[in-house]
Symmetry: D2
Subunit: 245 residues, 4 copies
């Protein structure tokens, strides 16, 4: 077993033993994420927020891994194909983001959002595509389907990648809180994972986890007020877009 350990400021060690995931991380497409700022021009207001989509993508995949471990522990075994699909989709969900993430997304390529670019990178002739296809010829299509929201497998896979309670939001709230220094984004990740269950193919949370969910929802609210919708940051985005046009 070859183990790759990434020391992460949010999750401490992200430990990867799956050769497929390691190969995907080493592609030029994934390494490109090191040059995409997670929060666009936000660093102009919160100077600590200089982090990239690279760490966030690792983090989203890691939370998916923790959820799979927890589900397995409670007796819900994901089929290995489903598990691979979920982990790859979590890792690659943002691979289509362009410069400064959302700040320019609708301006650079108005016809395409970052999800459609992510799906394209997964399905067209790229290093990412070749690695996925070499593992299983059906994998690129399935991963792209999860990203685009038309996956035909168990519905919880899609909802764990993109919904009101998904690995994307769970990672970015914790990560953006750390880097901006605004602690309002913190919530009880472990409690949420521990109370997750699969019910009729959907992810649900046991009643005793409700306060953790409330806290998570409010963490989002606070981060929107304090960071994502901050007037100085929105102004900078407008200036940036005006400069581009």
């Amino acid at each position: 077993m070859r183990e790759q350990a990434y020391r992460d400021p949010v999750h401490d060690f992200i430990t990867i033993t799956d050769a497929l995931l390691q190969q995907l991380i080493d592609t030029p497409e994934f390494q490109r994420l090191r040059r995409i700022r997670q929060l666009g021009v936000t660093y102009g207001t919160y100077h600590g927020a200089e982090h990239s989509r690279f760490g966030h993508s690792l983090g989203a995949m890691w939370i998916m891994h923790l959820i799979c471990e927890r589900l397995a522990y409670t007796g819900v075994e994901l089929g290995s194909g489903v598990r691979e699909t979920a982990l790859c989709a979590a890792l690659l969900h943002d691979i289509g983001h362009g410069p400064l993430s959302h700040a320019l997304e609708r301006h650079l390529t108005p016809q395409h959002n970052h999800e459609s670019w992510s799906a394209a990178i997964v399905q067209e002739d790229t290093a990412v595509h070749r690695i996925l296809a070499a593992c299983d010829p059906a994998l690129p299509t399935q991963v792209a389907a999860v990203i685009l929201g038309n996956y035909q497998g168990p519905p919880y896979v899609r909802s764990l990648v993109s919904s009101q309670l998904d690995v994307d939001r769970m990672d970015y709230l914790l990560r953006d809180a750390l880097y901006t220094g605004v602690t309002y984004g913190l919530f009880d990740l472990q409690r949420i994972i521990n109370t997750m269950q699969i019910h009729s193919g959907q992810v649900v949370v046991a009643a005793k986890g409700i306060v953790a969910i409330e806290e998570y929802v409010l963490a989002r609210y606070f981060m929107y007020w304090q960071v994502y919708l901050h007037k100085a940051i929105r102004s900078q985005e407008l200036i940036l877009r005006a400069a581009w046009d």
Copy 2:
């Protein structure tokens, strides 16, 4: 009183009321530090270490501010000229750093290290220079002297900016630890500040602070082993330099 608050991941709020410091931060020379990576190519190994010299320079100035407050509280009033010199020198000590900080320092301009560039920016015809001179015509020379190590004022000013126990090291250990996720760089900053004293013009630490000093020295040792001298990072630096030559 106009107050500028910077939310910092390391120090929480860095609050600036001094108009001179606010003006210096807003210069193009200082804002340029947002594009200089604090740890060069280290982010290739510790993916969280994407932070710039901007936050570090604010942090070093802030620790200097905390030390001045503490000294005043213990009855040691720095003259206002000395205090301004110390704060400006802490803020500007890295303003001459080039791309990727130390990784390319000796290759881009072999005859000049970053201190000599910092001193040049302070003394030549720049926005930084004009703001310092407008405050006090002697200030640019004094700040440059502190940075270059030939300041004729109280010796503790120089040693607080650059010595074995200075605001530069104190900030970068805490900051690099946070961003890399390697907690070994943490130490008891508050205890060190609280036990600092001026004795015969030198900064000394009261005997009861000795364990905090030991911990600080060992934090440096650990960060060198775990981060600054990490074999993969040193290799990347060698490759970068070879590519440059």
Copy 3:
């Protein structure tokens, strides 16, 4: 200047230079608080919550100190008599608590709540009373008035000791969160202090602090759900009271 430093798990160093406060802490009445559990029988459910009213009382006084410093910094100087009264009232507000704090309060002495006991300790012939009176003969009466809610001085003093936003709640939320391990009680203390102002004799918070206040209010809500009203803890309290009767 003799300085007494208390290392606190919540506030790091609590540093006391005021001889009056030091003497009050050293009285038998205040030292007794070391044997009063802050959260009564809660440790039976959250095993970490074994902390006493001693640390909380120091912490409440320390937050009052930080607020006074901030107000002074913004140009609002409390008269020294008012400042002393506020600090002593914060330190002594819980000195009348009996065994297991609230769990038995109404059962041990049904006619008296802990505030009336606190006021009695301040005004009757105790070490606390003698120290306060030796400092200023009017001080015991004023401190007791703040605790009982009929203080005739500036209204913000009373509201900082007991209101919807007071040093008592601010300390216990942070402290109980730390000791129980339930992070939901955390909030942005520094931001609240930094945005506090005195307006028409009342404490108000500047508009830009509103999100910090919302977070504080919700921290209370979460702590009530997760800890203070926890069904197992409430059950233990009922059993304890039944055993007493």
Copy 4:
């Protein structure tokens, strides 16, 4: 599967599914640990250190659990008898401690240290003994042997419970650091666990873990200087013993 979750200030959730461990925790002997202060009279100097042996014993067992999980993950399966023995010994290693832990240990019963009392509780007719014996008649003897240091099973079991690098020290350094507020006791627990291996029946740490081990050793050094050998605490212990004699 019935799962018992203990929210811990040090390890967040300690989750127990093993019915044997749950039953042991619920014995009067183990619950008694709630009334034994982990650090004796230390709370007189570090007021936050009011924690008991109860949380520490849970924590030591939890670190043992994490190590077993890690060893299993690297392909080293402990036999179930060995694993049970290790977990029970970690949980029960301090069950013989008397009032104020070490402060009075040699004075109350000079002929017996706490290990011999722990072994007696495991082997004599107690609730703990009956629960262990009902699970496996050989278990009480084996657990006592680990505690007393004459266990005939794999040597790493004994060394994980008591050696220079054991679950006891690893938990108490982190725990005492948190409660005293002295951060010097922190170290990289996850890194140590991740680099542990079994070699010739002994626990060893891979070469890449050496810095984490150095940090751990120094954390002990710092905690001894700052807390365990603190002059005021040692004085209080001497007074306590003199009062007893």
